[in-house]
């Protein structure tokens, strides 16, 4: 089963707290998941200031600057993993280095039934 692990963090503290992970640690962790065969994809995101929100309404494209919602914590990156069950996904999510300064939302991927 696939789980999307969404990493949220306050952007100001993500890189400035004593527990903040370095890029090298994040890379190493992603590689270790890759090694265990559970990695589908993972990326870190640029700051939320670079976000653009797009909507299609009545055939008309609407484009706004910024994220879809203003929140204290922003989406900083994601891991798409393959795990046996929620317990295994929680293990992977809990060890994401950024979980020490932010939080990780774990969402099962829904199978589409065409």
């Amino acid at each position: 089963m696939k789980y999307l692990c969404l990493v949220y963090s306050n952007e100001h503290t993500l890189h400035n707290s004593p527990d903040s992970p370095e890029d090298a640690e994040c890379m190493a962790y992603a590689e270790s998941i890759q090694g265990s065969g559970r990695m589908v994809a993972a990326e870190a995101l640029e700051s939320v200031q670079t976000a653009t929100t797009v909507r299609m309404r009545g055939g008309k494209l609407s484009i706004t600057d910024g994220p879809f919602a203003e929140t204290k914590e922003q989406l900083a990156g994601f891991y798409l993993i393959d795990a046996k069950d929620l317990n295994e996904a929680i293990q992977v999510a809990g060890n994401i280095p950024a979980a020490r300064v932010g939080c990780v939302e774990v969402r099962p991927v829904r199978q589409l039934n065409p």
């Binding site: 089963m1 046996k84 069950d85 929620l86 317990n87 929680i90 774990v106 099962p108 829904r110």
Partner: protein
């Protein structure tokens, strides 16, 4: 065999084993709703079959097997609509009888408890789900016990089951490494059930025996399956509190404080069992907050009169407890014990310290403790104000009457 005898036997097996059979069916079928449906169908056909063929040697295995066949039938009917069903049916048909041996069945009960108390489920769903699936209380009974609408309870249970299925919460006993954290969640659920029964938060009665009974039953089951120190501690704590229940309310339903309880009404058998468990748990050296609270309850239980209570030991145990789990409620309880040891002015100083920090300002027991200390110190006006604040904060009728009586007694 007469129809009556068979029916009585089926009912007996239901009472004794329905939760075990359900736990195994959930493992085999991987779905709570399908397993519940299969369980009821299995008991339904047992009445007719056992009358015709006699009661089987192992009724539990017979019922698991019958439930499995019923589930296969039901999946076949659904298979016309869902493409994934044939594979599950094939898996189910291949299962051997050996896959529900008695040993597995005991593990299944533990799996069921850990799944219902999984921390990924909403906290307010864990309690009703456990009472529904593990204790077989109906939604209506749970709703009555928690003074909630049955529809609201049913919805929490439905949502929790949907999350178990859709997020794939596994049906398993956690590994050694995960156990402490996961066990906490199970113990917390049991303790919540007990507390609600021991000191109902609202309504006309002080205690709800049905809930304390279920909590103790859960505690005994967990103890039988997983005799960890904290499991012993929680069971001991519940037994020791329960031992005092007959003495906690007067014949007219009024609240009786620990000091004033008639100790001859305490249940000596429960006290003996509780104290033995505390001792065994403390010996493991792996004890935690539940053992420490049980040890405090045991010191009270062993005092022949209120005056002979070993307050220095109780204060010492609260000190250890407070280091293990810093909490303002424990600080408040420690203040009450310290007041017994060193006098009400010491208790008042500690309670005022807690309230000055902004903790427990909406907790009625903090204000009634303050009122009590002030009353003992002859500070009548202060006591009156604190009792009034406590009265504003509690909904429970016996507690309200108790505070009103104290207010009336202030001169």
């Amino acid at each position: 065999m007469s129809a009556e005898t068979v029916k009585a036997r089926v009912e007996q097996v239901y009472r004794q084993d329905s939760r075990r059979i359900l736990a195994t069916l959930i493992r085999l079928l991987g779905d709570f709703d399908l397993a519940e449906e299969a369980l009821h169908e299995a008991f339904f056909i047992a009445v007719e079959r056992w009358q015709r063929d006699g009661v089987p040697d192992n009724p539990r295995a017979w019922l698991v097997s019958a439930g499995r066949f019923k589930a296969i039938d039901s999946l076949r009917r659904r298979a016309r609509f869902a493409a994934s069903q044939p594979m599950l049916i094939a898996q189910l048909e291949e299962l051997e009888q050996g896959q529900w041996s008695d040993e597995d069945v005991e593990d299944d009960r533990l799996r069921l408890i850990f799944t219902c108390c999984h921390p990924a489920l909403a906290a307010d769903a864990q309690v009703p789900l456990t009472l529904r699936e593990v204790c077989d209380l109906t939604t209506e009974q749970i709703a009555r016990a928690f003074l909630a609408a049955p529809a609201a309870i049913a919805q929490r249970i439905v949502r929790a089951k949907a999350k178990i299925r859709d997020a794939r919460i596994p049906y398993q006993v956690p590994s050694r490494a995960e156990l402490p954290e996961r066990l906490d969640s199970v113990l917390r659920v049991i303790y919540l059930v007990f507390n609600e029964g021991y000191s109902a938060s609202m309504g006309a009665e002080l205690t709800r025996e049905d809930l304390t009974r279920e909590a103790i039953r859960l505690g005994r089951l967990l103890m039988e399956l997983l005799p960890e120190a904290e499991v012993m501690g929680l069971l001991a704590l519940m037994l020791l509190h329960e031992s005092r229940r007959p003495a906690r309310t007067s014949s007219t339903g009024e609240l009786v404080l620990l000091d004033e309880q008639s100790r001859s009404l305490w249940d000596a058998e429960l006290i003996a069992e509780g104290c033995a468990l505390v001792e065994a748990a403390l010996k493991t050296r792996r004890f935690g907050p539940y053992c420490l609270q049980a040890a405090i309850a045991a010191v009270h239980a062993e005092a022949p009169t209120a005056e002979e209570t070993d307050w220095p030991q109780i204060v010492g145990l609260y000190d250890v407890l407070l280091r293990a789990v810093p909490s303002p409620v424990i600080e408040l309880n420690r203040a009450a014990a310290l007041a017994k040891r060193d006098g009400p002015q010491e208790g008042l100083r500690l309670v005022d310290g807690i309230l000055a920090r902004g903790d427990l300002t909406d907790y009625h027991l903090a204000h009634s403790a303050r009122a009590e200390f002030c009353r003992q110190l002859g500070q009548v006006e202060e006591a009156r104000a604190a009792y009034r604040r406590a009265l504003e904060l509690t909904q429970q009728l016996p507690e309200r009457r108790f505070i009103e009586a104290r207010l009336a007694g202030l001169q």
